[in-house]
Symmetry: D2
Subunit: 500 residues, 4 copies
C-alpha cells in the first residue's frame, strides 16, 4: 500500500554535512594521474570541501629526511611532493583535513608497519623531533599558502590509535597528542582527536577527554570513525561481513554525543566522523553495489543531526592498502572505480550535494527538502538480499505545496539496470583491466536514468507518486515552469506526434 | 504476435551510404561558433565524409568583388573566409561537396532572390566571368590544400534549377552547366548535376542527360533531391504536411535509376541524393520528433541499394533560410538543435554509422548486420500518430548464430521518455532560449537509454527478443565476451547483492 | 645622455582606466568562432570589463521583426542571437556597454546606410515603436540575466550622430535620445550620450547638455570619441594619414571637461571615450605597427586623469566595415589580427593591465608604478619615421627605492625584431591567408622578448638602466626575491657553467 | 675569423637517430600526473618513438605476486598498473623499449638493492619462475595490444650487469639472458643485451657475443650505455665531474662497432645505446645548463654514423634514484624540469627532430641539412667554462644553394639570456618549489629566442652569416617564400613605419 503524505510548506534547516569531507588513499597516491582524474570528477559533480588521507609523513611523500653535517644527523625537510599534492588539491577547490602520521623511517622506534605500503606505526624515537616535524610542516604550508588559508585546515593527531595503527600504548598516544597539539598551536589551526575506530570507544573517549582537560591541552574538535559491519570473513581474494542496520551508525553518534555531554568543556565541540563506510576493507563487494547507494543514503539523511561531518572512506579506488587492485571492480572503497567509472554510491553523494537547505519531511526511506523555488526529494530502499528474497517496493503518494501553476519533475534513478556498472562489468565478463570499448560502455552505464514529467497545481498541491524498488535510489527535483506554449502561433499539439 | 526469425550466418555486403555526405546551412554560417560546435559533435559521433551547403558564391562568404583599375571594373577574389571555412571543415575531418552558387551581387543579371538571406538566383551577367570565378576558386583551393586533396571534392552546378532557386530557363541552366563543368575540367574534380528536386523529374533528367551526351559535356555523377511530404499547410509560424511512406523515396530512387538506365553513358554513373528529408521546410515539427528517427531509419536501411549517397538536410539547426530561428526547438532541419542538443534522428545516423559491413537480414522494421566478431541490429517502428492512435508494437524473437559461448547485448533505445528532448523541452515550458540549467537537463535528456544483458550460446544461437514500440528506434550491439569469473578466487555471487 | 631619476617611495593613485572598455566589430560578428577565439585571448591576458560594438538592432542580430496578425503588422522580438552573444560575453567575463542602434529594416524611415554591412542610419518611422524596442530588449535582458547584473551595463544612445551615422538632424537625435532614455529609465541602467566624434564638438556638446537640462532628461554620463589623425588619403586598398601627437587626444579630453564644467549638473559626470585610436579607418597600416604600441602607451599613461574610460577601437580584426578583410594583416583596428596573432599594441594594453595602483613617476616616455611589493615600469618611444630617420633612443638611469635586499627585474620588450608580427608576415611574403606553419611562426613572433636580471639593494635603492629604442615599448617588473642559495649544500657557482 | 663555406646542393642521407628512444625514471613513476604532463610536452615537440625505463618487474608496478593455494605459493600476475602505464604511453604515441628487471620481492635470492627506491639486484631464486614471469608478461601484452603492435617493442635483458645493478656474476647474467631470451622467443620480439655501461667493455662484449654464438642464443641487437664524464666528486648535495670531449662517446661507439666486427654473426646487428648523457648522476648541474645543450648537439650530429639509437637519459626530472628531488632545478637528468619547465637540452632534441633527411655539410660546430624545399642548419659551441674564460665565438659565412628567389630564415637561439631557465631560476632566488608566478616566468624563460629575416637569391645562393657564442645553440630554418607584395594595391613601404 502506498503511503499518502502531505508535505508541509515549511520545515527546519536540513543538517546536511554530506560534502564536508571525503577520504582518500594515502597522500603519496595523490601524485598519480588516475587519482587526480577521479578527484576532478568528484569535485565537478559533488564538490567536497575537505579531503583526508593517511601517510602525510610516510616516506613516499618524502618530507622527513636526515643529512649528515659534521658527523651529526640533521633533519632535512623536503616539500617537493607535499607542495605538488596541496597545489593539486587547491586547483580542484578541495582542502586538506590534515592527519599527522605515520612515522618517517628516520624517526621510527620500531619495525611495526601496517598495510601493503608499510606505514610505520611506532611512536617516534624522539618526541621533540616529531614536534619539530609537525611545526616545520605547518610553518612551511603557511609560508607557501598564507595563514588565512592554512588555518582553515583541521589537524588530527594520528589515526585509530586504539588498534593496529598505533604500536604504542594509550598513554603514548596522549603524549604524541600533547607534543603535536601544543607545538602546532603556534598557528591557530583547529586540532583534534582521538580518531578512534569503534573498539573500546567509551574507555578511549573518556580517558582522552579527561587527559586533555587535566593537562589543559588544546582540543578543538572530537573525531572518531564508524563502520557498520560485523566480523570479516575471508573467502579467497574477497572479504564478506554481516552488515548492520544503518541506524547502527546513528546510535554510535548518539552514544558519542552522550559521552561528550558529560564534559562541559567538550559537550559542544564539533564532532567529526573522519571515516565512515559500511565495510572497512577494500575488497568487500558491497561498496560497488546499488545496495550501498541506498544504504548510505539512509545514513546521510540523519547523521547531520549528531555529527558535524562524516567523511566517506574513500572518494576513489586509487588505493593500495591491500596491495595494487587486481581488477576494475574489486570491492574497493571508492566513489569512483578505476578508469573513472562512477559507482552507484557516487550518486548518493551527488544527490545529497543537491539537497535543499530546508527539511520538510523525513522517514526511513525518504527526505523532502526545498530551497526557495525548488524541491529536492531523495528516496532509497536498501535491503540485504543476501538473506533471501528482494524486499518489497516502497510506495508513496506525496502532496507537495505548489510553487507555481506548472512545474517540471526531473527524476534520476539508480538501481537495477541503471547506474549499475558492476552488473555491466559482469556482463562484459568481469575483465581485469578495461579496454577502450569496455570503458565507453561502462561510462554510459554508470549514469542514472533521467526522465521528466509535467506537474500541475491541483488545489495548491502537486501530486507525486513514487515507487522505490529494492536497492534503488531516486532523486526527484521539482522546478517551477513558465509555459510559453501560447506564444507559439500556429502550435497544434497533434502535429508534434504525441508531444504533451 | 512476435516474428520468429533465424538469422543466417552470412549475407551480402550492406550498401550503407548513410555517412557519405550531410547537408549544412549556407556556407557563410560555417563562420559561426555554434555551427562549429555542432559540427564537432556530429563528427565525433557520426563522422560524415562530406558536407554540402548553399551559398559558396554568396556575398557573405565574400569571394567575388570588383575593384576599379584605370576606370575599369576588375574582378577581385577574396578567399579570407573561404579558407577559414575549409580549414575548419578539414580540422573536423569533413570535406566540402562543392555546390556552385548562388550569384554574387556583381555578377547578377536580375533581382530575384531566395530566402531570408537573399541568395540571388539569376543567371550571370557574363558566363565568362562566372566560369572564371569557378576556375579561380578551384585553382585557389588546389594551391592551398593540394591537388591530391581537392580532386576528391565533388562539384555540383547550382541547386534545384527546376524551381525558384533558378530564375533562368532550363536552357540557361544547361549553359551554366556547360560553362562551369568545362572550365573546371582543367583540374580533375568530379562534376555533376542537375541537382533537381522532385518536380518534372523525368523531363529534366532526360533533357539534361541528352544535352550532356550531345554536347559531350563532362558528367561524372547524377544528383537530385528527395523530400517525402505533401503540400505545405501554414499555421502561424509552423508548416505542416501530409507525410508519405518512406518507400516513396525508395520509389523515386528506382525511377531515377530507370531513367538513367536508358542512357548507356549514364546508366552506371554514381547517383548522389544531395538533399533528402521528410519535410523540406525548416519550421516543420516532424524534424524534432522520435517519429522522424524511426522514419529515416527505414530509408537508410535500403536507399544504399539505389543511391551512392543520400545527404540528410541538414546536420544543424544553425540555419537561416526562414529567418533567425525563434526558439530552441522550432522544426528546423538539424540533427543537432540549438545549444548542441542532439535530436532523436541524430541517433539514427549514429546507429547506421555503427552498422556492420555485412547484411544478414532486412525487413521493413529491422536490419541485422555484422562485422567479423560483432553484430549490430537496428530496429524502428514509425507510425504517423497524427492520423489517430499509436501503432502496434513490433515484436521479434531472433535466433542469431553464436560468435562465442558468451556475449553481451548492448541495447540503445530512442523514443518515449528516452532521447526525446522535444518532450523535455515541452515539459520545461517550451522556453524560447535556454538557460544553463535547462541546457544541462536537455543534454542528459537527449541520450539514448543504454542497457545491457548477457547472452549465452544455445545450440549455436543467441536468442534475442525485441519489442519495438510505436515511434521508437533501437540499436542492439552484440559483442563476444570472455568470462573471467572463474579467476576470482572466493567469488560468491550472493555476496554481490544480486549480481548476475 | 641618459636621464638620471630618483623615484620617490610614494606617489598618488594611478588613474588607469585602460581596461574599462574595449571596442568590437558589429555585434552580429560576435556569433563568429574567430571573434570568440580572439575575445578569449584578450580576456586571458588583458581582461577588459566592458565591450562595446555597433549593430545591436541591426537585422543580422535579428531582434526586431514584424508578423501579421489579423491583417496588422505586429512587433515580434527574437532574442535567439542576442542571448547567444551575451552568454558568450559573460562566459568570458566581459559585459556589454550597450549602444542603441542602428535602425531595424522594419522601423527605418529611409534608405541611408553605412558600411559594407549596410547599417541603416535613418530615424525611426515611429519613435514609440523604437522606445518599445529599447524597453522590451532591456526588460528581456533583466528577465534572463537578473536586474543586479544588467543595471551595471551602461547604455549609449546611437553612435556619432554628428556625422554620417545619423541621417537625421541634431534635433531628431535629441528626440531619439529622449525616447530612448526616458523609457529605459524604468530600469536603472546608466544612460548617456551624445557619442559624437570630433566634429563640431563644442556645438553638439553644449546643445545636448542644454537640451537634457532644460527637459530634465536622464543623463548619467557623457560620451564622445577621439581619433588623432588628419585627412584620409586613399592609395589603392589602403588609407594613410598625417598622425597627430598623442597629446592631441589629451587636449580633446581637457576641452571636453572644460565644456562640461560650465554646467554644474554635468561637470562631475563620468566622461567615457567610447572609441579611440590613432586612425579611424580599418585599412590603415599604423594599427599593425610597433609605432602604434608606443604611441598608444603615451595616451594610456595620462588619459585617466581626464576620462573615466577610453575604449580602444577595437579588440579584434574580425571586422567588416570596409568589407571582409583581404589579408592576414591589412591595417585593421584589432589588438588581435586574424588567426589569433597578437599585434604590438596588444601588449600596450597587457602592460597597462599589469600596472601598479600607485603612480610614482611619469614623463612623456615613462611611468613608474607600484603595488605593495612590486614595481611596474612602462616605457615607450614613438616616432613617426615616415617623416625621415628613426628618432633617438631614450635613456634612463633610475634609482628605485628598494623593497628588499634582492629583487628580480623582468623585462618585456616590444619593437624591432620582437613582438613585431607585421615584419615577420612581410618576411613570409605577405601571404593573404596563413597556412598552419605560417601561423605557428607568427604566433611565436608575436610575443615580447622576456629577459630577467638580479637587482641588489645599494644604499636603499635599485639601479636600473633602460634604453628605449625608437618605436619600442618596454615593461619592467620588479619583484622582491628571497635568496635560497645558502641552503644548497655544496653549491659551487663555477660548476654551474657561468650561472650568476 | 669567420669561416666561409659554400654548401653543396646535394649530400648524403643524414643518419639521425636522435628521436628513436628516450630514457625514463622507473616505470612506477609513469603513474604520476607530473610524469605524464612532461611526456605530453616531449611528444608534442620532439616525438620520440620509444621510451625505456627501469623497474618493469619492481614491486611498485605490482606485476609479480604470490598467493597461497592449498598451502602452496602460486604465482599471481597483476597487470592493473602495467596496462595503465602502457595505455598512457600509446596515448602519447610512444612505445616501450622493454627492459626486463629488476627482481620482484618474491623472486629475489638476496637483499642487495640499488637506489633510493631499492630495486632488488639479485638473481632469481628460480630461473624457471623468472622465465615464466617474462613469458606471461609478454603474452599478456600481446593479448591486450595485439601481436602486430607488441612485436615492434624491443626487449633488453636487465640493466648494466657489469656493475652494481647486478648482484650476480657474469655467468649468472648469461644464464638470466638465456632464460629470458629463449622463452620470450615464443613471440618474435627483438631481444638484445648485454646493456653494459663502460666498465670492462671489451671483456663483457666478447664474452657475451661468444656465449650467444656458442649456445646459439637469440641476439637481435647489441646494447650498451655511454656516459662521458670522469670520477664523481661529491660536494654536499651535488656531484661534479671532469667532462670529457663529446668525441669520447664517438670513440666508444667506434670501438664497440670494431669489437662487433670480429664476429660475422654480430657485425651487422643494430647497436642501441640505451642510455647516454654527460654525467651519470641525477644531481649534477651540467644537465641543466646551456653548455649541455651545445655539448649534446655535437654528439647527435655524428652518433648516427655508428649507432642505431642513442637514448638520452632521461626525458623528465620526475625521477627518484637519489631520493625525491629537493628543488625545482637540482641537476636531474630530464629534458624537462619539474613543473614542466623545458631545459636548454630539450631544444637540442627538438632541433634535431626537425633536421632534414639529407646531410649537406658537417663540422665540429655545425650541420647543414635539407629536405626537398627546406634547409635546417644547427650550430653549437660548447666550452667548459669551469676551466677558465668563455671560449671564442664560432663565426660562419655560408653560401647556400638557392631554393627560390626569396626565402625566410627563421633563427632559434638557446644560450645566454635565452632558453636558459636555470639562470632565471637563480635570479628568482633558487626557490625549492615554485609558485604560480614563478612558473609563469620560467615557462616564458625556457623558450628559444625566435627571429626571422628575408633572404634573397644572389647568383644562385643565399648568404647567411652566423655567429655562435660560447655555450649557445642555434637552429636556422630556411623556407622558400612567394612574395605577394605586388598584389597589394597602394602599398607604400614608408607608410608601414619601417617595414622591410
Amino acid at each position: 500500500m502506498a503511503r499518502e503524505i502531505t508535505i508541509p510548506a515549511a520545515g527546519k534547516p536540513f543538517k546536511n554535512n554530506a560534502t564536508f569531507c571525503v577520504g582518500s588513499g594515502r597522500l603519496g597516491l595523490a601524485l598519480q594521474k588516475e587519482y587526480i582524474d577521479h578527484l576532478k570528477i568528484v569535485q565537478e559533480r559533488i564538490h567536497f570541501k575537505y579531503i583526508r588521507g593517511h601517510g602525510l609523513f610516510c616516506d613516499d611523500v618524502g618530507i622527513y629526511r636526515e643529512t649528515e653535517e659534521d658527523g651529526k644527523h640533521v633533519a632535512y625537510y623536503n616539500f617537493t611532493y607535499l607542495d605538488r599534492i596541496i597545489d593539486s588539491f587547491l586547483e580542484h577547490d578541495i582542502r586538506p583535513f590534515l592527519e599527522l602520521g605515520f612515522m618517517p623511517e628516520k624517526l621510527k622506534s620500531g619495525e611495526q608497519t601496517i598495510f601493503y605500503w608499510k606505514g610505520n606505526t611506532t611512536p617516534p624515537v624522539s618526541y621533540e623531533k616529531w614536534a619539530e616535524l609537525v611545526e616545520t610542516t605547518l610553518a612551511h604550508l603557511i609560508d607557501r599558502y598564507g595563514a588565512e588559508e592554512v588555518i582553515t585546515w583541521p589537524v588530527e593527531v594520528w589515526n585509530e590509535p586504539n588498534i593496529a595503527f598505533w604500536a604504542g600504548t594509550m598513554e603514548e598516544y596522549f603524549k604524541l597528542y600533547e607534543y603535536s597539539a601544543k607545538r602546532e598551536r603556534v598557528d591557530p589551526n583547529k586540532v583534534g582527536g582521538p580518531v578512534i575506530c569503534g573498539i573500546e570507544t567509551e574507555k578511549w573517549l573518556r580517558a582522552f577527554f579527561e587527559h586533555c582537560i587535566e593537562n589543559n591541552l588544546p582540543l578543538d574538535f572530537v573525531s572518531r570513525h564508524c563502520y557498520t559491519v560485523g566480523k570479516p570473513v575471508r573467502k579467497g581474494q574477497f572479504i564478506y561481513h554481516e552488515i548492520f542496520s544503518p541506524t547502527y551508525m546513528i546510535e554510535e553518534l548518539k552514544e558519542t554525543r552522550k559521552i561528550m555531554a558529560d564534559y562541559p568543556q567538550i559537550a559542544n565541540l564539533p564532532l567529526h566522523i573522519t571515516e565512515f563506510n559500511s565495510s572497512y576493507v577494500p575488497v568487500c563487494p558491497v561498496h560497488d553495489t546499488t545496495f550501498q547507494a541506498a544504504y548510505i543514503a539512509r545514513i546521510l539523511s540523519e547523521a547531520g543531526e549528531y555529527a558535524d561531518s562524516y567523511s566517506y572512506w574513500t572518494f576513489s579506488d586509487v588505493f593500495e592498502e591491500y596491495d595494487v587492485p587486481r581488477s576494475a571492480f574489486h570491492g574497493g572503497f571508492g566513489l569512483v572505480a578505476l578508469n573513472s567509472i562512477k559507482k552507484p554510491v557516487f550518486h548518493t553523494f551527488e544527490f545529497f550535494a543537491n539537497a535543499g537547505k530546508e527539511l520538510l519531511y523525513r522517514d526511513e526511506n525518504l527526505i523532502v527538502t526545498r530551497d526557495d523555488k525548488r524541491y529536492v526529494i531523495i528516496g532509497w530502499n536498501y535491503h540485504d538480499t543476501r538473506k533471501g528474497e528482494p524486499g518489497p517496493d516502497k510506495e508513496y503518494v506525496l502532496s507537495i505545496p505548489s510553487i507555481g501553476q506548472q512545474a517540471i519533475l526531473i527524476k534520476k534513478q539508480v538501481g537495477g539496470n541503471y547506474a549499475n556498472p558492476l552488473q555491466t562489468w559482469s556482463n562484459l565478463g568481469k575483465p581485469r583491466t578495461l579496454n577502450k570499448e569496455q570503458r565507453k560502455i561502462l561510462m554510459a552505464a554508470s549514469e542514472p536514468l533521467q526522465t521528466d514529467v509535467k506537474l500541475f497545481d491541483e488545489k495548491g498541491f502537486y501530486k507525486v507518486k513514487l515507487t522505490i524498488q529494492c536497492n534503488h535510489l531516486y532523486m526527484l527535483e521539482i522546478l517551477p515552469v513558465k509555459d510559453f506554449t501560447d506564444t507559439y502561433d500556429g502550435f497544434e499539439p497533434d502535429e508534434f506526434f504525441g508531444l504533451e
